[in-house]
């Protein structure tokens, strides 16, 4: 294998990992706000919750399109395999996102009869989040393949483990949502977000612990990776740092005045979870089935895309930061950007 054919898939895996991470964090708090809709029933507060993200949601969601498009471009075999193997949860996620997405606009036009779009927003978020967790779980437990194509059944993904991953992600996104609200609101709503964030944090920690034990228990390959000497020692900082991030998050939730800390710590917690997943699965792109090299597109395709990505990604990040900066500060009742 020449250097290019060795390095390009790795670079692409890194780019896709970045895109997926950014998606999970950015749309994670957006979907988290939808989950919170179930617990905050006052219309004026719901307006504020929605307005904290209204200018950003579309850009946030585009990272999901980059994830899908990038996977198709850089790793077409993995793309075909994952999409057919996890057909049901992926389609369910997309349909849930349809409801969630249009609710951002429809809800305002439908007022004062917006109940249906409140439901679309909140249930769309719950179902999409759950389905994303199931996709993750389904990937971790592996897809049965034959000659690189999916060869399993329609409901192979449906296991207690994947369902639990779905529930875990609900807790995780709820934490991102509540801590985002602490950062973006004040007064009553912030007070409420602080209380809710504690519950979400505890739920997420419990879920993370269970998934971290369940995964190696059900996938021997991953158990070997983590618990073989000296791997255990090398990887030990990951769980330890996670505990530290969780502690900082709790501090941030309790400390009035440091409104960004809880959110940033929650993001750190997600990043550490992602590092854990990477440790478990390198060099697989589709765990247990396809490595990054086996599923890579032709080098000239990856190179052609890489040129564009290296030019465009900094620009995209630049204007994304600019838009967040433009709509910085607290969002208050009646101060809708609409």
């Amino acid at each position: 294998m020449d250097t290019l054919a060795y390095a390009l898939p790795l670079i692409w895996a890194a780019i896709l990992a970045t895109a997926v991470t950014l998606y999970v964090i950015l749309d994670g708090f957006g979907l988290g706000l939808g989950i919170l809709f179930h617990f905050e029933r006052r219309e004026s507060q719901r307006d504020v919750i929605m307005n904290t993200i209204a200018p950003f949601w579309d850009g946030n969601q585009t990272w999901l399109v980059l994830g899908g498009g990038g996977l198709l471009a850089a790793f077409p075999k993995a793309y075909g395999l994952v999409m057919s193997g996890l057909y049901i949860p992926i389609i369910v996620m997309l349909l849930a996102l349809v409801f969630r997405g249009v609710a951002f606009e429809f809800r305002w036009v439908a007022k004062p009869r917006q109940e249906f779009w409140d439901l679309a927003f909140s249930w769309g978020a719950v179902v999409a989040t759950f389905a994303q967790g199931v996709v993750l779980g389904g990937l971790l437990q592996g897809l049965s393949t034959e000659g690189g194509h999916f060869a399993g059944g329609t409901f192979d993904w449906l296991t207690p483990f994947s369902l639990f991953c779905g529930i875990s992600l609900l807790a995780g996104y709820a934490l991102l949502g509540t801590t985002w609200l602490i950062y973006k609101t004040d007064g009553d709503l912030q007070e409420w977000a602080r209380d809710s964030a504690k519950i979400a944090l505890l739920a997420m920690l419990a879920a993370m612990a269970i998934v971290s034990l369940w995964t190696p228990y059900s996938v021997p390959r991953i158990a070997e990776r983590w618990f073989m000497w000296p791997n255990f020692l090398i990887f030990a900082p990951v769980p330890l740092l996670s505990l530290y991030a969780a502690w900082r998050c709790w501090q941030g939730i309790e400390n009035i005045g440091k409104d960004a800390e809880a959110f940033l710590s929650a993001v750190a917690l997600f990043l550490l979870g992602f590092v854990g997943l990477l440790i478990s699965n390198v060099p697989y792109l589709v765990p247990g089935a396809l490595t990054v090299w086996e599923s890579a597109a032709a080098p000239s395709s990856q190179l052609f895309m890489l040129v564009g990505t290296l030019i465009m990604l900094p620009i995209i990040l630049g204007y994304t930061i600019f838009v967040y900066w433009t709509f910085r500060g607290k969002v208050r009742a009646g101060e809708g950007y609409h």
Partner: protein
């Protein structure tokens, strides 16, 4: 996978695709229209441009949201329904779609945030710039997706190894033989479609006697565009047809209902093509005209359907009829533009009720033509998915019949209900009309905080809340 599941996968893709195409083709033109309004507002300082821009921006937001959510579905459907297509053509199609995401989707999605919510947050020039960037983003998007689609119609710049397409020349791939024609045809169609909607809404207000200043601007701008673009589209469409005749002669034969290639083609106004008997029933046509159009000579010959094996032919009926509807709508739009321009010249266009009243119902015309056009080109490519390389039946995902059927039913239920609601809401916004105060053109809007009362006022008028 059995034949029925393939059929279902095709129906599902056709369904989601048909719904999706409606929204971006509207957004492409509308973004440019809003940007133009805002630029004119900055140049002239006239309030009604600003009111119009704000009004259409609300409609844009609703339509754009529907385009985004239905588009995400498509970007994953290549894998969920056509996994083998992703493997065979992924090396080529993947990067083209990737460039669409990188150069277009992020640009439009991000600056849409400023365009929708930045009226008072950013300096006016920056807001106008955001609208222009959104418009540019939609055009970039059209560029890449049409390049990808055109490559599937007229593949170039690649080589096949072990049944997988590998890129050889990206320049030839991006600018493949049918791309310039398809891009010009679709881009013009998008602008034309939006112009018809703008014209139609203007006519509605004129007939109702509301928002007269705004209505006149809309009629002038919409009609002006239709009068120029509709005839232009005829010329572009003709060039695109010639290109198709060169690269996909069997598609043209199906469009024309032309069976026997040894005789000059008739231009059929109506017929009922019979694929079993390999001839048309109830033909009404103009002799030699199809030959004249396609070969530019009276006795010119072009290939007929019988020159191709039956299994290499596309389904003739849908191609034949969709083509006729598309051309029919195109001719109607030319007539609308022509008559309107004449009335305009006679200074009667704002009062000619007989002309304006039917125009109120003309808004879907562009959409109908676009959907029919896509059916012609996509069905006309069958039995291939990538022309000459990959047949549709070989591209499908290994997904069970029941799973595809279930998701198809879900798609139909959800799309029809959600998107009909969207169209209903757009109609509600149009009923409300361009109301509310305009912002002074000389930038006094400060970045950051502003009096809450003013914000509430703006929010209320923008939301149209009843309280």
């Amino acid at each position: 996978m059995d034949v029925d599941a393939i059929l279902l996968a095709r129906i599902q893709f056709a369904f989601t695709f048909t719904f999706h195409i409606i929204f971006p083709s509207f957004s492409i033109g509308l973004a440019a229209f809003i940007a133009t309004l805002l630029v004119r507002w900055r140049m002239t300082g006239e309030d009604h441009f600003h009111r119009l821009a704000r009004f259409w921006t609300k409609i844009f937001a609703v339509s754009f949201a529907m385009g985004v959510v239905s588009g995400i579905v498509l970007s994953y459907q290549f894998g969920t329904n056509w996994a083998k297509f992703s493997v065979v053509a992924g090396n080529i199609i993947g990067p083209l779609l990737g460039y669409e995401v990188l150069t277009a989707f992020f640009l439009e999605a991000t600056f849409l945030g400023i365009m929708l919510f930045g009226w008072q947050r950013v300096p006016p020039n920056l807001h106008v710039l955001s609208a222009i960037l959104v418009a540019i983003g939609t055009s970039f998007s059209a560029f890449w997706i049409l390049s990808a689609n055109s490559w599937m119609q007229t593949p170039a710049g690649f080589e096949m190894k072990d049944g997988i397409a590998y890129p050889v020349s990206w320049l030839e791939i991006v600018f493949n033989p049918s791309f310039p024609y398809r891009f010009a045809h679709m881009f013009t169609a998008a602008y034309l479609t939006t112009s018809v909607v703008v014209l139609s809404v203007g006519a509605r207000y004129l007939v109702q006697g509301r928002f007269l200043e705004e209505a006149k601007t809309m009629v002038r701008m919409g009609l002006g565009m239709v009068a120029i673009l509709a005839p232009l589209q005829l010329v572009i469409g003709d060039a695109h047809g010639l290109n198709t005749a060169e690269h996909q002669p069997v598609k043209v034969a199906a469009m024309e209902g032309h069976w026997d290639g040894s005789k000059p083609g008739e231009l059929l106004l109506f017929a009922w093509p019979d694929e079993k008997a390999e001839k048309n029933h109830f033909e009404v046509g103009i002799p030699h005209l199809a030959s004249l159009i396609i070969t530019h000579s009276y006795d010119g010959l072009f290939k007929g359907l019988k020159d191709f094996k039956a299994e290499e032919r596309p389904p003739v009926l849908p191609v034949f009829f969709a083509f006729r509807v598309m051309v029919g709508v195109g001719l109607l739009l030319i007539a609308i533009g022509f008559v309107g321009t004449f009335l305009w010249w006679r200074r009667k266009v704002f009062s000619a009720q007989w002309y304006l009243k039917p125009l109120i119902y003309a808004w879907p015309l562009g959409f109908i033509a676009i959907v029919c056009g896509w059916w012609v080109t996509e069905t006309g490519r069958q039995p291939y998915l990538v022309y000459g390389i990959l047949k549709t039946m070989d591209a499908v995902s290994p997904v069970a019949f029941g799973a595809v059927l279930t998701t198809l039913i879900l798609f139909v239920l959800i799309y029809t209900s959600v998107f009909s609601m969207g169209i209903l809401y757009i109609n509600r916004l149009i009923d409300k009309g361009p109301e509310g105060k305009a912002i002074a053109p000389e930038g006094n809007a400060s970045v950051g905080a502003r009096p809450i009362a003013a914000a509430q006022d703006a929010a209320r008028s923008a939301l149209g809340s009843e309280d």
